[in-house]
Symmetry: C2
């Protein structure tokens, strides 16, 4: 059988990293910028981010959080307050040292007005928000304090990839303070659950909920919970983290409250975040060799209507039919919002037009010409079917079915992704099996192999480091569901309390 023609070259099996870049480009999601490591998020990519923001923001508010906004700049001394934290972020941060440019000796502009203290562009805001919390929290009545911020952050990355790892990215960061350890731990878990619910119900991306090993923990945290997803190259993607910070930051920053008993106590804090990285995860979970596939719940447009007027006696009547149809679709609410429709009247070839929407991942495409109008029907293509597999259905029937079609496609995205993850997740009990599971097939520059390996593990940090160096494999997480399942570590023969999940990762 000859190879089917695809919209994306190379296909996933040939060169997955390059396929990823090509899908981003073909869907017009984002592009590199002339500023090292920073990306430009183009309108279609930003529209997906707006959907992500809107849903998550509602979930944060429903769990009692309020949004606020804190400074972009962090004074150097703030970053220095928590030892592990500064260690983790000082190596890769943008440092502001001057506050103007002035003409230099050769006529060009040079930095001038040196600051007394350098400012760091926030890589994360525990320190600057903690300072505010130390002033906002006085008594137990002020707790819990539940704050979220939508913001840009900067971490000076040397090797960047659109959405997955960029020097500047957009994210939300939640920061909370609580009166007791138990309450703070519970909140850390609650927000992990919010993330997992969002990823599974909205992004149709199944995630493992787990705990990070000590080596992978957030700098300054006592405990880092995470959600991990498997991409189609079987690598893991850390999709979100929720940190229990204990009293580390509260002690460093003097976040103290007067308890009901009149005692001065340090608060217990948490922080948690997800970023534009999610869009990379969305892409790699669902897309195919024809481009982006959007789970309908996060699609900026659910339906695109393409009028076909070149053979029409009366093009205007076809356009009117299409506009009326667009209005009828928009008048339907799905999940609390009007259905979104693009009406594409661009004067370009029909094939080019159709493929542009396939590559952008719009769930449902309608091509409508004079004959469809005459028979009061629509000619429908679905992103979950072959590009050539289209069907004619009555307009009324389409209007009654569109929501169930979208629900079916949403479920299909999730089911396929879950089946894929399960297929490539294995319990492994010997070092030999582990090594051969992750060993690269020889001679293939971009092999897709391996997956998630679940092994017992004794917890030895040096062993973990050795495996990372030898195989490029890390502990993605200690799954929360698998706790309390004793066994023997295949690497050391030592006892283990649970299986951990290993994988290569982004």
């Amino acid at each position: 059988m000859s190879k089917a023609k695809t919209a994306i070259t190379p296909v996933r099996a040939e060169n997955y990293p390059e396929w990823y870049q090509q899908v981003v480009r073909a869907a017009d999601l984002a592009e590199p910028s002339p500023v090292r490591g920073c990306m430009i998020i183009k309108p279609w990519g930003y529209a997906v981010w707006e959907r992500v923001q809107s849903v998550l923001d509602g979930m944060f508010k429903a769990t009692g959080h309020k949004n606020a906004y804190f400074p972009l700049f962090i004074p150097k001394r703030f970053l220095e307050q928590e030892a592990e934290h500064v260690e983790g972020f000082a190596k890769e941060c943008a440092v502001v040292t001057h506050h103007r440019l002035e003409a230099g000796p050769d006529g060009g502009l040079v930095p001038a007005g040196e600051l007394d203290e350098p400012l760091v562009v926030r890589p994360t805001s525990e320190t600057i928000i903690g300072e505010a919390f130390s002033r906002w929290v006085e008594s137990y009545r002020d707790l819990p304090l539940l704050i979220n911020q939508w913001a840009n952050v900067v971490r000076w990355e040397m090797r960047t990839r659109l959405f997955l790892r960029t020097s500047e990215f957009l994210w939300q960061e939640g920061h909370t303070a609580h009166a007791t350890e138990a309450e703070a731990r519970e909140h850390t878990q609650r927000m992990l659950d919010v993330y997992a619910e969002f990823c599974e119900d909205w992004m149709a991306m199944p995630v493992l909920r787990g705990r990070k090993s000590e080596a992978e923990r957030f700098p300054g945290a006592v405990d880092t919970l995470c959600i991990e997803a498997m991409m189609q190259d079987r690598k893991g993607l850390q999709a979100g983290t929720s940190h229990f910070l204990g009293q580390n930051f509260a002690r460093a920053q003097d976040i103290v409250y007067l308890s009901e008993q009149g005692e001065r106590e340090h608060a217990w804090t948490t922080s948690w975040g997800v970023s534009t990285r999610l869009i990379g995860g969305l892409l790699m979970t669902h897309s195919d060799d024809d481009g982006l596939v959007l789970p309908p719940r996060l699609a900026p447009a659910h339906v695109v209507i393409m009028p076909i007027t070149f053979k029409a006696d009366d093009p205007d009547s076809v356009l009117s039919y299409c506009r009326k149809l667009a209005d009828d679709i928009r008048s339907q609410h799905w999940l609390g919002r009007p259905l979104e429709v693009e009406l594409d009247e661009r004067d370009i070839r029909g094939g080019e037009k159709t493929w542009s929407w396939i590559k952008k991942g719009v769930p449902v495409r309608l091509e409508i010409g004079p004959r469809d109008m005459e028979s009061d029907s629509v000619f429908m293509g679905r992103r979950d079917k072959s590009p050539k597999d289209k069907e004619s259905i009555g307009r009324e029937q389409f209007l009654s079915n569109i929501q169930s079609i979208l629900e079916e496609m949403q479920q299909g995205c999730f089911d396929r992704a879950l089946a894929f993850r399960e297929e490539h997740t294995h319990d492994i009990d010997t070092r030999e099996d582990f090594e051969s599971f992750f060993a690269s097939p020889e001679g293939d520059p971009t092999p897709i192999h391996g997956g998630f390996a679940r092994t017992h593990f004794c917890g030895d940090r040096q062993v973990e480091e050795q495996i990372k160096n030898d195989l490029g494999v890390t502990i993605r997480c200690l799954p929360l569901e698998g706790e309390d399942d004793p066994g023997t570590c295949p690497f050391t023969g030592q006892p283990s309390t649970q299986r951990v999940t290993w994988g290569k990762s982004y």
Copy 2:
């Protein structure tokens, strides 16, 4: 008559600038941060900004714009491309020169990893977005290109005031490219009209639409249109600007398209923005000596319910009554959104609780105790009436009337502000009258005086500069409505084509 007790000290008439700071604090809108010139926008202030964003974003989308996101950093050479532009912004910008911190000789951290080229934290994004446009625009089919960005920007201000002038602020910046001058000029005007509509219909803040004099123009623009509002100290506030950039940036950045006739042409561009400064304007337009007054359409909460249970035999039944009432209010949609209700169950004194919501500007307050419950009624206070002027009305009646109450309050805000502006706007025809209009009453440290003076003006830039130096008064705008009304300039005796509006300003 003895002075009435007010929640804010000092009152407006005593010390307006200090009153402003105290209202910001009493309403818990924002606070200074430990980072020079940067503010922390607290949840109540941020919630107002979210309302502003949500309405404006809808208006931008309805006029065909799409959101995107561009890098925070601008390479120095980009800023240098447009001569006036760099002149305008180089003097006050945050400059990133290093990309990490490392241990210095005395153990503290010092900047390291010097960049080859300094980066400027964006003060505005014409240059970085123009670079993208130069790649995105190829043919006339790509025009108009209508993009908006929600972002933070930094301008290193020496004298800052919360919301009105801060080193970092939040804003939106629209950037568009067009095929013809006429179309770009029309778009510049269209977006000014969008801003004016937003300010008047949503913020209840009347604005003058006008053109900036050459001296006040945006650096790099051919023409700057603006909206100007009068605050309660009779000073002007520039609330938004819309710039016609001609081909200045297109030439500097090579934004070129192939016309229908196959010619290579420079595009015509526009940019326009409003910022968190609007919240300062909102505050100064409507607030009174008891604190913030929110026009209902932008209030984060329309109604606050305060259960009064301390004398109740059955506090739980009062709470249930209140919760049911909150749900009934929330089930009503107003302007496409559910009505927002705060149910304040805090265990603090009733007076303190009531005053906290007065100071936050919530339009309608309901105090509900056992007797209100028994009579199936609510005890209502309105932010546009005296704090003591409350009335009992039936619950059902309240529920049927709440939307018209809010509309009435919204209209009242606008009408009062318009009457105030008209009262303090005068046509002035001699230099003597002009000087005495703006002269400070002697002996009063914080006088409220002057207003908007409408005079003819010959357009001489030196005269304008002299008046600014002598009186601290600038041309707020050349009103668009007053064009083509010839007369004589009172300062030079030269002919004038229209009256211009002068004022002191923020």
